[in-house]
């Protein structure tokens, strides 16, 4: 097991607090519903209803229900034209801002993979079938990846901070939080909004199906019978602030982000290096960044897509670095929400720290024989959780891990 002492780490800078969080996912709207779903080990994956999946192997996904998503108290009529991704961002940001109404971000850093892709699909379908293009300007205007970020800021904050949108495939959300963490830790920024979003789209769904990365069965991370991923969607926001400043101003401190690691393994555009070197480097660098040892980690929220290749590489890296630390992939409950996944899973890790429990890895029957992992199988359970690591890995060999720590009152 690796022992990472402070001599190998970066110099610590400012401490970085999470002062607010908001989330929308198939697990529910808001922190309370999400916590409830996690504790009850709800399977929130359902049959896909947004588009036809008749010709796909996979027929299911984690979906955010439109009846609640689009019924939010959006102030303006233009909200009707916004993409579902914008609505998700609005819900998540609104929940976060209710916890810290005075929060004025200097910068917003958000991860996504596909922006308003379904509007692009509607536009293309209308074009090549000589359909009605009356709404084309709306689709085009709401398609860009930065649009949901700007929409949410305007709708909820009434102002728009400068925004950087990171599109690092499935690692986007964790990269966004990690970079935001570094921005505050360096002292260059005091308050940064961060997170991720993605809405289900036919193009992306079909793409993963074409790679045979998605499964017609249940999503079973780390299981010997795992057969692939299911997709999901959602959004999560974290408000980060210089911890000292947050305390001075009486802001709630939900947790502290203490480390970030990123690596690029260059093995293949869609597959991880089977040695696990990419995930291992990302986790090692997060530990070095936090100047803590692997022994101090109490919970691992794994990337755990349930594909053969990801879970083998990640599982190998985890067992090389950690000795029996509880692991779960909450994608088993809600699907893989791509650019949102890292942000939603950061919020789930935060809930684990605050409520002292381990979120479950559902649909689990038996551990892959080649892995040596302590999987939190099928049910959540109470545990002392002081430090959690959350992993996200993506196409292109991009790997990211963040470390979150409980802050005692």
């Amino acid at each position: 097991m690796a022992q990472l002492g402070s001599t190998t780490g970066k110099k610590n800078g400012e401490r970085v607090a999470v002062v607010a969080a908001g989330v929308v996912s198939p697990l529910g709207f808001g922190l309370a519903e999400t916590l409830n779903s996690l504790r009850r080990a709800n399977d929130c994956v359902t049959d896909v209803t947004r588009f036809s999946v008749a010709e796909c192997r996979c027929k299911t996904a984690g979906q955010v229900p439109d009846d609640r998503l689009l019924a939010g108290p959006n102030k303006k009529l233009r909200a009707k034209r916004l993409h579902r991704a914008s609505h998700m961002m609005i819900h998540a940001l609104r929940e976060a801002v209710m916890q810290v109404p005075q929060f004025e971000p200097e910068l917003t850093i958000i991860g996504t993979t596909s922006g308003g892709m379904s509007y692009g699909e509607q536009y293309y379908r209308s074009l090549c079938r000589s359909g009605n293009l009356r709404h084309a300007p709306t689709w085009i205007a709401n398609y860009p990846a930065q649009k949901p970020v700007i929409d949410a800021q305007e709708e909820v904050l009434g102002v728009s901070a400068p925004c950087q949108v990171i599109a690092n495939a499935c690692a986007s959300g964790t990269n966004a939080i990690g970079h935001a963490f570094e921005c505050v830790r360096s002292g260059r920024y005091q308050r940064v909004l961060t997170g991720g979003y993605d809405a289900l789209s036919e193009l992306v769904f079909t793409g993963f199906d074409s790679l045979q990365a998605s499964t017609p069965e249940k999503c079973r991370p780390f299981d010997r019978h795992r057969a692939g991923m299911v997709l999901g969607e959602g959004s999560a926001i974290l408000a980060l602030e210089n911890l000292e400043l947050a305390r001075k101003q009486g802001a709630p401190v939900l947790a502290e982000i203490v480390g970030y690691g990123i690596s690029t393994d260059n093995f293949h555009i869609t597959q991880p290096d089977p040695s696990g070197v990419g995930p291992r480097q990302a986790m090692e660098r997060a530990l070095q960044s936090a100047q803590i040892s692997a022994d101090e980690v109490d919970y691992i929220n794994a990337h755990g897509t349930a594909t053969i290749f990801n879970d083998a590489a990640e599982g190998k890296a985890i067992s090389q670095l950690f000795n029996g630390v509880p692991v779960s992939s909450t994608k088993s409950m809600m699907g893989h929400s791509l650019g949102a996944a890292g942000a939603i899973e950061a919020v789930i890790s935060l809930l684990a720290l605050r409520h002292q429990f381990l979120p479950p890895n559902i649909n689990f029957e038996a551990l892959d024989e080649s892995l040596d992992l302590n999987v939190v199988a099928n049910e959540s359970r109470s545990a002392a959780v002081r430090t959690a690591i959350s992993n996200s890995f993506g196409f292109g060999g991009t790997n990211a891990s963040i470390l979150i720590r409980r802050v005692e009152a």
Partner: protein, 375 residues
């Protein structure tokens, strides 16, 4: 903290190579527009394309199936590293960060992939094309070619994204263990993009781009890549990078640009690199420039090179660096004599120039700016 420009690489419709493109711009050359059509549509458009000959020298197994956007980026990125004298190897691969700026991404393969789905059904979807539709595909190809093992980010946005990527590079380079950051902006053109911008009333069907015109006749899209190696020390520095801003309505763009210009013009400025492209952003830039730094010498390259969106910000910075280095500006093409700005209407000497503002306003609600200094 200020970072220095250590090397640059350029793939444009006017050719490759920083000095070669610069010479053509100084001569007043304009890229040739080529027609671009689509099998299911009657309407055709004009775009400034990169000549195929520009990519002939590049052969790498990783790029075998890659779209042209990745090839543009790899060519420009490798040229920039060579110009900076940086050889990436296993010893320094972890000390180099890679940041990509992209707006529309791999639209050619995205369209091909989805066309198969729409026309033939999901069972025809290509597993070879899908990975190339992902925004970070160009960055991952270049990272693999170079062997970069640490930070690789792809930032997406509108025409301002290039400067936002440089701002991100500045933040990333706060980590003292990094020696260099390679920032690459890249874009490819497709009929679908032209049609989308046209329906949004931002594109005209044929050149020229008329900068700062009140008629707002629209832009012509172009493609290519720009790459800049940022280092700790050098003669030309990014003296200040503004974090940028977002505007909700088009009418608010000018306010964002004024805020950026006020921040960047607190020292004497010798010239401004504008992002004027023939759309509504020109009037926003014009209004902001006239109010905040009236009389500033202004150059706009898009009439000559086209609107390359994700690559355009990098191109502007490279032009600013070249103008500071050589002490002259190329002529602004197709500008009406009635425009009140002090435009470089013919090749103009800016001898002794020390500082330039690069101003970038995108059409999708983002604005950004930075200040270059010559030491």
């Amino acid at each position: 903290m200020s970072l220095a420009i250590a090397g640059m690489g350029w793939v444009t419709p006017l050719g490759n190579g920083v000095d070669a493109v610069w010479e053509r711009l100084l001569r007043g050359d304009e890229a040739s527009a080529t027609p671009i059509s689509e099998q299911f549509a009657e309407r055709s458009y004009s775009a400034f394309r990169v000549p195929e000959s520009a990519l002939t020298g590049l052969a790498h197994p990783r790029l075998r199936r890659a779209s042209v956007i990745s090839r543009f980026a790899a060519t420009a990125g490798l040229d920039a590293l060579q110009a900076a004298g940086v050889k990436v190897n296993s010893q320094n691969a972890g000390r180099i960060a890679l940041i990509f700026a992209i707006s529309n991404g791999g639209v050619i393969y995205t369209k091909r992939f989805y066309r198969d789905v729409v026309e033939t059904g999901a069972q025809s979807a290509s597993p070879l094309l899908f990975p190339e539709t992902v925004f970070n595909a160009p960055a991952s190809h270049l990272a693999a070619i170079l062997g970069v093992t640490g930070i690789t980010y792809t930032v997406v946005g509108d025409g301002a994204v290039g400067l936002l990527a440089i701002k991100m590079a500045e933040d990333v380079m706060m980590d003292k263990s990094l020696d260099y950051c390679l920032v690459v902006g890249t874009e490819e053109v497709d009929w679908l993009l032209c049609d989308a911008y046209r329906r949004w009333r931002l594109l005209r069907s044929a050149p020229p781009i008329e900068p700062f015109g009140k008629q707002k006749r629209g832009m012509i899209l172009s493609e290519g890549a720009g790459a800049i190696v940022l280092a700790r020390e050098g003669r030309i520095t990014i003296e200040r990078a503004h974090p940028g801003g977002c505007y909700g309505k088009r009418a608010e763009a000018e306010e964002i640009l004024k805020r950026i210009l006020r921040d960047l013009s607190q020292v004497e400025i010798d010239f401004v690199m504008s992002s004027a492209n023939g759309t509504f952003i020109d009037q926003a830039e014009l209004g902001a420039l006239e109010q905040v730094i009236p009389g500033a010498v202004t150059y706009a390259a898009k009439p000559a090179l086209g609107e390359s969106v994700g690559a355009s910000g990098l191109w502007q910075v490279m032009l600013g660096a070249q103008a500071l280095r050589h002490g002259e500006l190329p002529p602004v093409l197709h500008a009406s004599p009635a425009i009140s700005l002090r435009l470089a209407r013919s090749r103009m000497a800016v001898t002794g120039a020390r500082r330039a503002i690069i101003l970038s306003s995108g059409v999708n609600q983002q604005g950004a700016g930075l200040r270059l200094a010559l030491h």
